[in-house]
Symmetry: C2
Subunit: 331 residues, 2 copies
């Protein structure tokens, strides 16, 4: 370390520059402390994290796995993660796993090989098999966006969000509705669908199984699902897509058939993605606190790292009504 050019032992310098300083100041004499501090930031001294990591066995690094950052929902969650991590002096590795179990596994190994202190998974499968293995490895981790089993997680209260959409459509008089339900392995789609179905059940309406169709989380996925829904029999009067991209796909499918969203068939999405309000027919959706999910995920992880108890959190969503949903046609 260059700072011992002022003829002090490295250990003294280390003690001073270390966190101990906030304590009762027994790191060194006040004059010495002052000299060291001065020289340190004059030189822009930064401790070598490799040395520190080697010695302390803490890297202040966390690994983050997401399905894909090109999904704005995950990108915004990551912004929250990054922000909070920086606040805790942590750096993050993010990586895209494309919801592929093989990539999830290999990326986890890669990240672990880097000796991260903990991990954040944004790509949890509801069947938590792989995550059970990770638990067995003893690395602290939390889930964001999607939950699984009773692993520590920070998510939007998706069940409640789905229920809100259900109640909204019920209030508009829609009785024959359908759900574009997302991937069957993601708790987001599962919970949003369940909440929606539960709202209808409370009103004494059972949504028939063929009215609930699995789908990709992107626009082509939503479009395909909608086409399946519209292919035979009378169309539903409203469609709930469990995310905004799928909803955009639904909108496309409707347009192709000459149906007007809102007017002919109501459509609702989920997440309140920035584009939702900009669409030609602005989209009714559920606002989920994406950045906040990321931030709290980091907070939860830091608690875990300190050995504290960690409670999962469900953050409250908010219904945003726009022109894509309208009263059901009389009949």
């Amino acid at each position: 370390m260059i700072a011992d050019q002022l003829e002090l032992h490295v250990s003294t310098v280390s003690r001073v520059l270390h966190g101990t300083s906030g304590e009762s100041g027994r790191a060194a004499g006040p004059a010495t402390v002052e000299r060291i501090r001065r020289l340190a930031d004059e030189l822009g001294y930064r401790p070598n994290p490799h040395a520190t990591g080697l010695r302390t066995r803490r890297s202040n690094l966390i690994g983050v796995l997401v399905p894909r950052l090109s999904d704005i929902v995950l990108a915004l969650i990551y912004e929250g993660i990054e922000e909070a991590a920086a606040g805790h002096g942590l750096s993050t590795f993010v990586t895209n796993t494309h919801d592929d179990p093989g990539i999830q596994r290999s990326r986890t190994e890669m990240v672990l090989a880097r000796r991260v202190d903990g991990m954040i998974f944004g790509d949890a499968y509801a069947d938590a098999r792989f995550l059970a293995e990770v638990t067995a490895r003893g690395v602290p981790f939390v889930l964001v966006s999607r939950r699984a089993g009773d692993l520590p997680s920070v998510t939007c209260d998706d069940h409640l969000g789905g229920r809100m959409v259900g109640e909204h459509l019920l209030a508009l008089g829609h009785r024959d509705v359908a759900v574009v339900a997302g991937e069957p392995y993601a708790s987001t789609g599962i919970d949003r669908t369940a909440g929606f179905v539960a709202a209808y059940a409370s009103a004494g309406i059972e949504i028939p199984a063929p009215r609930v169709v699995a789908s990709g989380f992107d626009a082509p996925g939503g479009r395909a699902a909608a086409e399946q829904l519209l292919a035979c029999g009378p169309p539903p009067s409203a469609i709930f897509a469990v995310n905004d991209f799928a909803a955009i796909g639904v909108l496309g499918a409707l347009r192709d058939r000459g149906l007007r969203a809102g007017t002919d068939i109501s459509v609702a999405g989920f997440n309140d993605t920035p584009l939702a309000a900009e669409l030609p027919v602005p989209l009714t959706t559920v606002r989920s606190p994406m950045r906040e999910v990321g931030r709290r995920g980091v907070d939860l992880l830091t608690r875990l790292l300190r050995g504290e108890q960690a409670e999962s959190e469900r953050l409250r969503p908010e219904l945003v009504v726009r022109a894509s949903t309208a009263p059901a046609p009389p009949g």
Copy 2:
């Protein structure tokens, strides 16, 4: 290292597990090599990167700065970066700088403090002042997406892309056109605008200054710019927005005024973002090879790290014509 439980010296093990192996196999006797290899992957041994980094002064880490990952263009470039980096055995730190010079600076410091081997900037200002400071620090780096001065960069050939749009609109007979030009500090907007203007100049048409308006790179930015353009005087018959998000904003502004995109006013964007084709009026745009920009950026950086000469690259874009551009009204 646990692997010396087979009664060998660490140095032997290190030699075997190290890259030297591919060489003439003079790391150890064949039998020994075999035993070491076996035990190593039985135990899932991974060298501690802190120790390696401390010893070799190479971290195999690269820092990546982007304006925001929630911009899908950058997210896709980052996917390419990540992919290529993994192929080279490098891990990446990405961070959002929101195009804010203060954040660019502090994040660069943070990343440098982590002892990265090199950096990739996706948020270069055309005035390369800050980057000159980074050069002075001696860290190898490359630019992606945006270029600056003659620093090594991998970008789309934005000038050519702009020119392509210009020629397309000229061929459709548009003579009174406008540009929503993006932020003045980004080479993307500058070059695309310049290429477009050059195409018109070649046809003997000079685009008047008020027809070129700066804008944010997002939908609200595009909307605001379009409103300014439509506020007074006769509207142009076509608008070129230097990216798809801004183009979506333009579309919104047209809709608000009861103008139909394509029919009343032609609109073109840039990047061929996944949503461009899904819009109610599919968007004419320029496809830029985003993942490829990321991949090549990493390749370029690795060349720099090996001390080789590095040539900037301009990747070829492709015009994608859709319904949002149509022949100019006669007159």
